[in-house]
Amino acid sequence: MSSINSSRFDSAIGWSTRSDAWVSKGIRFLLSALAVILFCGPLLVIFSGAFDHNPDPTKLSVIPDNPSLINFQVAAENKIWHYLANSLIIAGGALLLQLAVSVFAAYALARKKFRGQAIALLVILATMMLPEEVIAIPLSLVIGDLPLVHVSLKGTLLGVILPLGAWGFSIFVMTEFMREIPAELEEAAKVDGAGELRLFAQIILPLCRPALGVIAVFGFNMIWEQYLLPLIVAADPSDYTLTVALLALRSDDMVGTGIVLAGALLALVPSLVVYLSLQKSFLRGITTGAIKG
């Protein structure tokens, strides 16, 4: 803290916090500016390119040369809004499912004692060793012919949503959090005659809001990042999510750079919005739980 006791060793490097340390401050400012340009610049170029009339890959810049909305109009003809809708429906549906599934599972794992609990935990841990890359090929067959019910989810949004509906990471983060809730609260509610569902919905769930933020932002990020899954579930290009459609757009000779960038921008904005509005949850999640992932 930059209070009276502000120490030189606020940081490992020993950046000076004294107001007259111009050299140290100057160097730090320059390097920080460089870092921001390096890591944010490319994303800004997407913005400017998307709004630039006919951007040339050789003349990219942070400010559009000839600002217009033409890219979005042409992109609309290439069904860009349809792809965005696919992405948003998948993100919304899968996230809601994931949250519900995680909260339910975590409630059992954290607040109950039952036979086979250790095995249940182990099984969930095992699912984290089976990322979608490893099971992609057989998964595409299973999605084409679900076991027992023999329904094909190929080419449906549900085919992407359902496999994303349970995520070991979310369950673990939620379980860890729910364990911290004191048992007295539950017992008091039980004495008052609260049933299992009321206990869950009215006592435990409201207390979990911070953890819900963490698993929501991580879940969204994980779902939005999906590439292989929507690719293998799609039966034809109209089933693509926006991120998958970008490559198809680029490969189309009739589509210019500006349209691809307009699509890229639309795919970028939701992740930025979610991150910036739930930033604290995100960073907390990384430093507490992500090491296990």
């Binding site: 930059s2 060793f9 606020d10 940081s11 490992a12 020993g14 390097l31 920080s32 870092a35 921001v36 890591f39 944010c40 490319p42 994303l43 170029v45 890959p57 599934v101 995680s102 339910f104 599972a105 059992a108 794992l109 954290a110 109950k112 039952f114 609990q117 250790a118 099984v123 969930i124 060793m129 890359e133 490893v134 099971i135 992609a136 090929i137 057989p138 998964l139 067959l141 299973v142 359902l162 496999p163 509906g165 349970a166 364990r179 048992a183 539950e186 299992e196 590439y227 293998i232 970008l246 960038l261 890229a264 992740s271 930025l272 991150y275 960073l283 990384i286 430093t287 992500a290 090491i291």
Partner: protein, 323 residues
């Protein structure tokens, strides 16, 4: 199946849930058992949605993948059991061998590079000032942007002509022009560069958390002893960060073996297979050559390698903690 048994079974899970006493007298125990059987039913009900999804979309595909890897898959004609022939084919296939080498180089380079850059970023941006918080948030953006989006913009930057964006930039310092992902000699390094760019800020956040846990008095003491800044970093900071760095490196390296989207979006494995990694090869084998059996064998090999690595890392960590 007794109540006592079920309670002691779960004690090592360390749950804080309310459960009641452990050993009780006989008549009471019998009554308790009935209550507990009723109660054990409830947790499984809560676990059911997760169990169904995991079973259908994780475990059944995995089992199916192992089965397929032992067959020559012929749609409409019926599969033929071939034993481990698919594995033999893949492990002798030149393209798969090259791809595995690329995967190792990419995973290793990306992991080390991201860690190094993340470490310097963390040193630069450690502190409580509001402006630093702002810079950290801005630098973190590549982590949240989808890989497909990042791939598109970097493809444009990598435009191989002399007047391309990056070539224009590096010409100011007298470098280039390079061809980046369009040249088999530089394509893998270029893909690696994009991976480092995306993952370094993630490592930064974890290293920052590690830095925050270091006792400030150690720095003071080192300074009093006359240690220079690099000496202090080397002798105080780095040893303190060792646990974080080790975990990060191993997990990122294991995760790096599964790399797919970055490569698929940036180069599709080309040019001339120069960036082909294990997963792009598996994908091509499955969906372009329709060799589901071979591709499944490739997936199982990847799974086994990651499994062995993960388990041995965990085992090593346990052993170290026990000491």
């Amino acid at each position: 199946m007794t109540a006592v048994h079920s309670v002691s079974d779960t004690q090592d899970v360390g749950s804080t849930a309310s459960g009641g006493g452990a050993v009780e007298t006989h008549p009471v125990r019998r009554r308790r058992r009935r209550r507990l059987t009723g109660a054990t039913f409830v947790p499984w009900l809560f676990l059911l949605p997760a169990a169904v999804i995991f079973l259908v979309f994780k475990f059944i595909p995995m089992a199916e993948g192992i089965r397929l890897s032992l067959f020559e898959v012929r749609p409409f004609l019926g599969d033929i059991f071939v034993g481990f022939k698919n594995y033999a084919t893949i492990l002798q296939d030149e393209k798969f061998l090259t791809a595995s080498w690329h995967t190792l180089v990419l995973a290793g380079g990306q992991t080390l590079g991201a860690m190094l850059i993340g470490f310097f970023l963390a040193l630069l941006l450690e502190g409580h000032a509001k402006s630093l918080w702002f810079v950290r948030s801005a630098v973190f953006l590549p982590v949240v942007a989808a890989t497909a989006v990042i791939g598109e913009i970097w493809r444009l930057f990598f435009y191989p002509a002399p007047e391309g964006f990056l070539n224009d930039l590096i010409s100011w310092v007298g470098l280039g022009p390079w061809e980046y992902i369009s040249n088999p000699d530089t394509s893998l390094v270029s893909v690696m560069f994009v991976g480092i760019w995306k993952h370094a800020p993630y490592d930064m956040v974890l290293i920052l958390a590690g830095l925050a846990g270091i006792d400030r008095q150690q720095y003071e003491a080192a300074a009093i002893d006359g240690a220079s800044t690099p000496q202090r970093i080397w002798n105080v900071t780095l040893p303190a960060l060792r646990p974080v760095i080790t975990i990060l490196l191993t997990l990122a390296a294991i995760r790096g073996l599964r790399v797919f989207t970055e490569v698929y979006v940036l180069t599709g494995g080309g040019p001339a297979g120069s960036t082909d990694v294990w997963m792009t090869r598996v994908y091509t084998t499955a969906f372009e050559q329709s060799e589901a059996g071979l591709a499944s064998a490739g997936s199982v090999v990847l799974f086994l390698v990651t499994l062995v690595m993960t388990v041995s890392v965990q085992w090593y960590r346990r052993k170290k903690e026990a000491r």
